[in-house]
């Protein structure tokens, strides 16, 4: 290798000044931090999460202890910042505690579905052939139901309750994640670098670990975050229908359902739990969008 051809290679083809190598995830982080909307949404979500975690410390009242005299007090009542509900329980305390249940039954199914659907999809995409057929056709059957209907059908048949709602939600989230995981894996598998790795003598597991996972986990993760908002809305919806947790547990969806009966007396009490669901779901959606453009993923 002659010196001048080194110089030619380095000077001729690309200006060197603009090249400052950064790890992929670091550059994503930098881009995400520059996006004001994402930062704001992340802050809101952290605030909501912290207030749910520290609900026992932050709550001014016992969320289950009602005061019959002070039922449906309006927002701003002395001692009850956000008023009281139909049983005279402090709204603020119940909203804080409600976040614990609502966030958990919204988020945990997504996590379960990511594990199950991600694994199934990557396997289907990488193995291909009959395995792919079997997995994807099974998912197609679940796809044949409108997702909310399927969630209601499963939790309805199971009989509702905390764990059944989580199961039902996870079940409806698995097929879309599997589909996305399958399609990105199939795409990555077709790239020459996978062939090149095989040509280097690497085995299947090494190729999956080093070359496939590093390229598919990002897109799968991004897609999954875009489902969180949907999951939270449906989870609260199931509670709203009475299929989730049972009273007197504080949960945003369930609170919305019971306060709805009282709209002729105190209309705005029903607004609060719904607003919490809305803000949480919107923040997750916007943050997911921000993350997607920061990671420059096209699905």
């Amino acid at each position: 290798m002659s010196a001048d051809s080194v110089a030619a290679a380095q000077a001729g083809e690309i200006p060197i000044g603009q090249l400052r190598s950064r790890g992929y995830w670091r550059s994503v982080w930098v881009r995400l931090r520059r996006d004001k909307v994402s930062v704001a949404c992340a802050a809101v979500l952290i605030l909501i999460a912290l207030s749910a975690i520290f609900a026992p410390l932050l709550s001014p009242h016992d969320p289950y202890q009602g005061n019959v005299v002070k039922r449906l007090a309006p927002i701003g009542t002395a001692g009850y910042l956000l008023g009281t509900d139909e049983l005279g329980r402090d709204m603020l305390s119940r909203l804080l505690y409600g976040g614990r249940v609502s966030l958990f039954i919204g988020l945990f199914p997504v996590f379960c579905a990511l594990i199950v659907g991600g694994t199934a999809g990557i396997a289907a995409g990488f193995i291909g052939g009959r395995t792919n057929m079997a997995i994807m056709r099974l998912m197609d059957v679940f796809y044949a139901f409108p997702s909310i209907l399927l969630a209601i059908a499963i939790s309805g048949a199971l009989g509702g309750g905390f764990s059944n709602v989580i199961l039902a939600l996870a079940l409806i989230l698995v097929p879309p994640i599997t589909r996305v995981a399958e399609s990105v894996t199939t795409q990555v598998r077709s790239y020459d670098f996978v062939e090149a790795a095989r040509a280097s003598g690497a085995g299947t597991w090494t190729i999956i670990r080093v070359h496939v996972l590093s390229n598919v986990l990002g897109p799968i993760f991004i897609y999954t975050t875009s489902l969180i908002s949907f999951s939270i809305i449906v989870a609260s919806g199931l509670s709203f229908l009475g299929l989730g947790v049972t009273p007197p547990t504080a949960d945003w969806g369930l609170m919305l359902s019971t306060l709805r009966q009282a709209i002729w007396i105190n209309p705005y009490a029903a607004a609060l739990p719904g607003l919490m669901i809305f803000v949480t779901s919107l923040s997750f959606n916007l943050l997911s969008d921000g993350l997607r453009s920061a990671m420059d993923v096209r699905l």
Partner: protein, 317 residues
């Protein structure tokens, strides 16, 4: 093309069979013996056994499935445990009521979304685009059942303009195309159209932008065509995707209207489903879900075929 449609039809058969299997197995998901659950406490063991045999619950599960499927194909979903009427008799009026909501909601969201989405794409990057995009993302992030309650608070409780619940006169379940019934339709339709409007707006914006990025649009302009003619070409090329998404959203509306129907006490399939769940009326639950899912399969199939017909480039394997 004909080949593709035929293959698509054949492909729908195993899917439909899978759907029936899931619907059938719903009975067995329950926490308790489906028969014991509906029998009064004082019923004797012999009575339970008699009912069990009458419903075929004593046979092996695959046989039960086959018997159930054969009856279901003929429209016999059994009798409601609650009212003792055939499930189909309860299902058909409910389905009509739900369809009424879904058709209006799909039409409303489509009309708004196509206009707003195209405008946003044409003014990409401006405040107008940003406003539309924000509304679209709000539409898909908002719990629509909560919006329904808020609409009731504003327009029924505070202003008293529109009914808060029901389908027209009192608890009547008969539909008529008069002002009273139409007024009852307004709030449910608006709340139902939020999600599809958001999704279709995003799709329209993205497809129009995609079409606009192609060189042939530049060619049309270079040829001196008026902007209106160019727009017609753009919309024509964006339409297969947008129509497909609208079709799918229509399917989702049928299954997803349960929350809105609950808020408005609208006597549709969602309401029926809700009642059947809490009264553990399994035949009604099973029948309703089966019919809605089959409807969804049918809508998907139609959308697919229509899309192929509109856009011959799509010939998926």
């Amino acid at each position: 093309m004909a080949n593709y449609i035929l293959r698509r039809l054949l492909y729908a058969i195993p899917i439909a069979i899978g759907v029936t299997v899931i619907c059938f197995s719903l009975i067995y998901l329950g926490p308790s013996d489906p028969i014991a659950a509906v029998m009064p406490d004082e019923a004797s063991a012999a009575d339970v056994q008699r009912i069990r045999e009458a419903y075929g619950f004593d046979k092996p599960v695959p046989v039960q499935y086959a018997l159930w499927l054969m009856r279901a194909v003929q429209g016999d979903f059994g009798n409601s445990l609650q009212s003792n009427r055939p499930v189909l008799d309860e299902l058909i009026p409910a389905l009509q009521n739900t369809l009424r909501l879904a058709v209006f909601a799909a039409a409303l969201s489509f009309a708004i979304a196509v206009v707003v989405g195209s405008v946003a794409a044409y003014s990409q990057g401006t405040w107008l685009d940003k406003t539309v995009t924000s509304f679209a993302i709000t539409g898909v992030s908002v719990p629509h059942y909560w919006v329904a309650i808020m609409l009731v608070i504003v327009f029924a409780v505070e202003l008293g303009w529109l009914p808060a619940m029901g389908m027209g006169t009192g608890s009547s379940r008969d539909w008529a195309w008069d002002a009273e019934h139409m007024k009852a339709l307004i709030l449910p339709v608006i709340s139902l159209s939020l999600i599809p409007a958001g999704i279709i707006t995003r799709t329209t914006r993205a497809s129009v932008l995609e079409v606009l990025s192609h060189d042939y649009v530049e060619t049309l302009r270079a040829k001196g065509l008026s902007e209106a003619t160019v727009l017609r070409h753009v919309l024509k090329n964006a339409s297969p995707t947008v129509l497909a998404v609208t079709g799918l959203q229509f399917g989702h509306l049928l299954g997803g209207s349960i929350l809105i129907e609950t808020v408005f006490v609208w006597p549709g399939t969602g309401f029926l489903l809700n009642e059947s769940i809490f009264k553990r009326d399994l035949p009604v639950l099973q029948g309703t879900i089966l019919v809605l899912a089959m409807f969804f399969v049918f809508v998907n199939l139609t959308v697919d075929i229509m899309q192929t017909w509109l856009d011959p480039r799509i010939k998926r394997d």
